[in-house]
């Protein structure tokens, strides 16, 4: 039996790890179901990466286009994901997103309005109709603040700046989690009947990224270590439009709303190059000439949409090709211009933070001149595999939601589908975690050895014999992933990464941290690197396995889609330091949903 008195210990029915949109929504639901719930987050409450989401939350409310409904949204999501999505998750997401958006409004969120006083919706890539509820270009802030305040008023216990390092198990079952307080460096133990992983993405393993320091894949690594499966890890979304200049802001996101609201992409010759990159799959619904594309902004019924708003994977690849062909801007991007179509007032009202961001960080006035943009590592479609309805992983009592999960987005996520995913599956994770906790019989027992082993390993870097700086190892990992596991991949480079990652892990074993345990960023980074290395390896192994190009996974050596790989997901399980890799068939879509894809676009 554990000597739990040794560490600060808390006991809950449900603990939620991560306090972005998914974690907050999960905690709210779990608490509403009567479960004693804790919310644990690495940063201060309200600072999670959701706060940076800009463009909007996708939901077929039908406020702007009454023709819109869940079936169209479902179809767009599946097509955007190149049909590799878990159909059931895509269905639930499309069906439940409108209720979740209205719920946010009922909790105090103030979305921009239509003329008749309803929630306004904006165009985004891959969505057939204007579908994104939004607040200018700061939708994520509105969402996180609304959820944060709702959670606080529910009286949910929040553990801020608390970093979970291991999930604890009682036999096969989840039993809690162990971690440290960033402020003091002291350890903390949580006993719980159910755990929700909602810890977000992995972008910090790449050099050019829109992600914040928190996005180190902790939940994905924790889940894998606890015995859950990872799936679709090869699919990384490189958002087509990140800032490219100046170097210190390279990667910071430029919302797709710029293109949704009228911005167009041009190369250094002034050409609207996206017309050269319309894939057959989207030909029927995409304008093939500038005149029609321009008319589409004013008359969406009688014209096809501009190719500037193709799904993100298509646009990112196109920009990458243009720059490689020597048609890039002076700083290695392409031009994104909204000033020639929209007046300054419109731009400042619709895109205030973009205006602000370019003005203050790049000395560019986007109401007068074009932005320079290029792809930036933005989102991982893969993650911990959970049940499509309950989000439970193969570890009983362990649930997963948000970017740490997988399935809803398939091979590529449409813009706007992330915020809706967070609240749809965050709610489901909280609901089923609470039910699980209620139904669970007997007491939860903590294995002393798991705790002690973790405690020892967390302190290993405080030693006098280490030589390696965690900052240097991190920089080298980012270079490795950027160079070898980027937008365009090939076997030789992926194999280079597979050799490099264990070397980096070995160096991490010789890392040395200076100073003490109190709020020590060098120590925190050394610990986060373990998650990043796990994720880096999982992504690289999956990318080697998928010998085709699809969505957020492009192989130079296998440039086309492949009929075999169209039917399988790549699934990983922990095996020692590495993983076993296997292919599993996609779940079969029911006939009534299949029909949606046979109708004309």
């Amino acid at each position: 039996m554990a000597d739990t008195g040794k560490y600060e210990t808390h006991e809950f029915d449900v603990i939620v790890i991560g306090a972005g949109g998914a974690g907050l929504r999960a905690a709210i639901e779990s608490s509403a179901q009567g479960a004693k719930t804790a919310l644990i987050c690495k940063s201060l409450l309200g600072k999670a990466h959701t706060v940076m989401a800009e463009g909007g939350i996708a939901a077929a409310l039908g406020n702007v286009y009454p023709e819109d409904n869940w079936k169209v949204h479902f179809r767009d999501t599946m097509r955007g994901g190149k049909m590799l999505n878990n159909w059931r998750m895509a269905q639930l997401h499309a069906q439940e997103a409108p209720a979740r958006v209205l719920e946010l409004e009922h909790w105090g969120a103030l979305f921009d309005r239509t003329k008749d006083g309803r929630i306004l919706q904006r165009d985004f890539g891959g969505h057939r109709y204007a579908r994104l509820a939004h607040v200018g270009d700061r939708t994520g802030l509105e969402m996180i603040r609304t959820l944060q305040q709702h959670a606080v008023h529910r009286g949910i216990d929040v553990f801020m700046e608390c970093n979970i390092q291991r999930l604890l198990k009682d036999g096969d079952h989840i039993a809690g989690a162990f971690g440290y307080w960033r402020e003091s460096g002291k350890f903390v133990l949580f006993k719980a009947k159910a755990v929700v992983l909602a810890s977000g993405g992995v972008g910090k393993a790449w050099k050019i990224t829109s992600n914040s320091w928190e996005c180190t894949g902790d939940g994905i690594a924790l889940g894998a270590d606890a015995g859950a499966e990872l799936m679709d890890m090869e699919f990384i979304q490189f958002h087509p439009t990140g800032m490219v200049w100046p170097p210190s802001v390279r990667g910071i996101l430029v919302t797709e709303g710029v293109r949704g609201d009228g911005g167009t992409l041009r190369n250094s010759t002034g050409k609207r190059f996206m017309f050269d990159y319309i894939p057959a799959f989207f030909k029927a619904e995409t304008a093939d000439n500038e005149a029609e594309a321009d008319r589409w902004y004013e008359d969406k019924k009688n014209n096809r949409r501009t190719p500037d708003l193709l799904p993100r994977d298509e646009v990112a690849r196109a920009i990458n090709t243009e720059v490689k062909a020597g048609r890039g801007t002076p700083h290695g991007g392409v031009f994104l211009d909204i000033s020639s179509r929209r007046d300054a007032d419109y731009i400042k009202r619709r895109l205030p933070s973009m205006y602000h961001q370019f003005k203050e960080l790049a000395d560019v006035d986007i109401t007068k001149e074009a932005m320079e943009v290029g792809p930036t590592c933005h989102y991982i479609m893969g993650g911990v595999r959970g049940n499509s309805d309950t989000t439970e992983t193969r570890v009983p009592g362990l649930f997963v939601a948000g970017e740490a999960a997988c399935g809803i987005n398939g091979a590529n996520r449409l813009g706007g589908n992330s915020l809706s995913d967070l609240v749809v599956f965050g709610r489901r994770a909280g609901l089923y975690a609470a039910e699980h906790a209620k139904a669970r019989k007997g007491t939860v027992s903590i294995d002393d050895e798991q705790v002690e082993q973790t405690a020892r390993s967390l302190l290993q870097v405080f030693n006098d014999s280490g030589t390696e700086s965690p900052y240097a190892i991190h920089a080298d990992l980012q270079d490795c992933m950027q160079a070898n596991v980027g937008i365009i991949r090939t076997e030789s480079e992926l194999k280079t990464a597979i050799v490099e990652i264990p070397k980096l892990r070995e160096r991490l074993g010789k890392a040395r941290v200076e100073g003490n345990r109190q709020f020590n960023p060098g120590w925190h980074l050394a610990l986060d690197l373990r998650s990043m290395l796990t994720v880096a390896e999982a992504v690289t192994l999956s990318a080697l396995e998928r010998k085709e190009s699809r969505g957020g996974h492009t192989r130079e050596d296998f440039p086309k889609t492949d009929t075999h790989f169209a039917k399988v997901n790549v699934v990983l399980r922990r095996a020692g330091d590495s993983f076993t890799v296997k292919q599993e068939p996609l779940p079969e879509m029911p006939d009534e949903l299949k029909q949606l894809f046979e109708e004309k676009a």
């Binding site: 008749d116 305040q149 606080v152 210190s248 960080l361 700086s469």
Partner: protein
Amino acid sequence: MASTEFTMRVWRGDSSGGNWNDYKVASEEGMVVLDVIHRIQATQAPDLACRWNCKAGKCGSCSAELNGKPRLMCMTRMNTFEPGQTITVAPIKTFPIIKDLVTDVSFNYEKAKTVPAFKPKPVEADGTHRMFQEDIDRVQEFHKCIECFLCQNVCHVIRDHEDNKPQFAGPRLFVRLAGLEMHPLDTNDRLELLKSKAGLGYCNITKCCTEVCPEHIRITDNAIIPLKERVVTEYYDPVAWLLRKVRGKRKVAAE
């Protein structure tokens, strides 16, 4: 690429005390103060503590006092300083030090817990709410707040008077309360709270908060003054008092 050397004079220490440490560091075109702090961490002081998240002015984590001015480190370009100048980087002063540039801002989170929750009126027959853009514009301004707490930091009511903290919520909370009070759907009444527990009367509208807001929220003009007017009307205007007696109250006082 042109590189300029700066001396960064960073406050380092904890609740027991500390001192200024000088770091000579190169800065390249486009770099912001936060980049330079990261460079110091990576090369000279790996345990230098600072908070940050988004590096794009959206999360409000990296507040500090730069040459004495409260700023977000991620939105302060190095080229706004003279080359060769020594730049001081200090933690925000109003909150207790944890370590180096990290302060204990829990005051703000505790105050937030005391705000009576949003309480919406019932939905329309179709299950949704109707609101018009012109009715929400002013509240959307308040919702821009990124909780960097720079306004709390410069507010002299609490910056120099620790003893005022229990009975004063501060500009951030006034913006929050204004956002709730002016929300077209809200039915809660927080005027008693504003008058007594939140200490609205302590504010003598010096506008220090407005000047430092990185989101350019007109805190004093648009949030604090209208709230003060509401409190005056509620408690000190005899005509309004009489009308209320006759017509009844619009909102129900919060617990």
